[in-house]
């Protein structure tokens, strides 16, 4: 009740409703001007510094974000390029391996052919040499046979026949044998 009485008591004392609320025109103007001066002073000397710090930090964050995005983009691009290169390298490697295998197979086949040809040539040479040896052996054997026949004939006849007669006899004997 005391509070209400006090509030009620203020109205007539100050003059009007505005007075009862404590509104004084000069005080209001004074406070408005003081507040405006405060805003102007702070806006000129204090806030720019703090706003600059915030803006700089924001600019740095934006630059960092842009750089990160760019780096991410480049990383994706690099990954694509790497994958493409790897794919190409794998393809080339596979081609190289295939070519190498083919070349190796061809070389092996060539070597095989050559070795076969060489072996055949060696065998042919060997056959030829053997034939030559056989012919030479036959000739030697023929001559030795002739000599033996001559010796045998000489033993049988008991006299030495002249080479001319000898040859004639032998030839006749050979002819007869044939």
């Amino acid at each position: 009740m005391n509070i209400l009485t006090q509030l009620a008591a203020t109205e007539p004392a100050s003059g009007g409703v505005l007075g009862a609320l404590g509104i004084d025109l000069w005080m209001l103007v004074f406070q408005a001007i003081a507040f405006l001066i405060l805003v102007l002073v702070l806006g000129k000397y204090v806030y720019p510094t703090l706003i600059k710090v915030v803006d700089d930090r924001q600019a740095k964050i934006e630059a960092s974000t842009a750089a990160a995005t760019e780096a991410e983009k480049k990383a994706v691009e690099a990954k694509d390029v790497t994958e493409k290169l790897m794919k190409q390298a794998r393809k080339e490697a596979a081609e190289i391996v295939t070519t190498a295998k083919e070349e190796a197979a061809a070389a092996l086949e060539l070597a095989d052919t050559k070795s076969k040809e060489r072996a055949e040539r060696i065998i042919a040479d060997a056959h030829l040499q053997i034939n030559k040896d056989i012919v030479a052996a036959k000739k030697v054997l023929h001559n030795e046979t002739l000599e033996l026949v001559a010796l045998a004939t000489e033993q049988v006849i008991g006299k030495t026949i002249s080479p001319k007669v000898d040859d004639a006899v032998i030839s006749a004997a050979v002819k007869g044998a044939k």
Partner: protein, 279 residues
């Protein structure tokens, strides 16, 4: 009621004069306002100097964090960066100064220390002169920004329209005019009411709990700190919203397309186009 009467709590709706200097009445609210102003300036000058020197500590970081948050909120409410930077000093000063003024009124001694039977200290936010002063400043600044955006006649058309051509628009304009007055009154009365009620609440709790006040008061003081922050933030956000609404090209004219086709020949039109193009 008898108990309340017995408490003898001194409550005055108006700030009370302590002394006069050359005819100027220095009230208890003005005295505390000066104290709040000194604290506020001290904090910001200290932080600014520390930032300029590149020396940071936790307090500087805390103030910078709060400042950055408030600045970010301005950019969120007002997308126009140029306008946001123009309104920033007023909005930021309102928030921080109201916050400091409100918070220092929670210091023990406010209302209880008297000088010639008058409380020596009273929250500046609990003085209608102050709340009305900043509300008037806000509403005037909002009109200035609206005129800069829409031009003088463009701004007038927000309130006054031809009732024969556009009766609904004319009524809407009339409501908008009343709305401007009520917004300003509500801004000031809301802050005053909360600050004044807060002071009375603390006085009554202190008186009712007597010796137990040391235990009970801190809870209510913490509550008042929270209310102080809310009130400062509400005042600040409403300042931004009123500005955003007033300068919004599509806001009030969207419902009446004929108004939005008026060629804007105001001096600020070219600048706005430049800003819009730059954005």
């Amino acid at each position: 009621m008898n108990q309340f009467a017995a408490l003898d709590i001194h409550i005055s709706l108006a700030a009370e004069t302590l002394f006069s200097i050359g005819g100027f009445h220095v009230t208890n609210a003005v005295l505390m306002g000066v104290m709040g102003l000194l604290i506020f300036l001290g904090i910001f000058i200290y932080v600014t100097q520390m930032v300029k020197k590149g020396r940071y500590n936790r307090f500087v970081g805390l103030v910078q964090w709060a400042f950055e948050g408030m600045l970010g909120a301005i950019d969120t409410v007002i997308p126009d960066k140029v306008l946001a930077r123009k309104i920033a000093p007023l909005a930021l000063t309102i928030f921080f100064f109201v916050l400091v003024s409100y918070w220092i009124s929670i210091i023990p001694g406010v209302g209880s220390i008297t000088y010639n039977g008058v409380p020596l200290f009273r929250s500046l936010a609990a003085d209608l002169n102050f709340t009305f002063a900043i509300a008037i400043i806000v509403m005037v600044m909002v009109q200035i920004y609206a005129i800069a955006r829409h031009g003088f006649f463009g701004n007038v058309r927000r309130y006054i329209r031809n009732p024969l051509k556009d009766p609904i628009g004319a009524f809407e304009g009339f409501l908008e005019l009343i709305g401007e007055v009520s917004r300003g009154s509500a801004l000031s009365l809301r802050l005053f009411g909360n600050a004044f009620a807060g002071e009375i609440l603390l006085l009554i709790i202190a008186a009712l709990t007597s010796f137990m006040a040391t235990v009970t008061l801190p809870f209510f003081m913490a509550f008042e700190l929270f209310i102080g922050f809310i009130q400062a933030y509400v005042f600040y956000v409403l300042t931004l919203i009123f500005t955003a609404l007033a300068v919004d090209i599509h806001g009030g004219h969207q419902a009446h397309p004929e108004h939005s086709h008026h060629p804007d020949h105001s001096p600020s039109a070219g600048k706005r186009k430049t800003v819009a193009a730059r954005e």
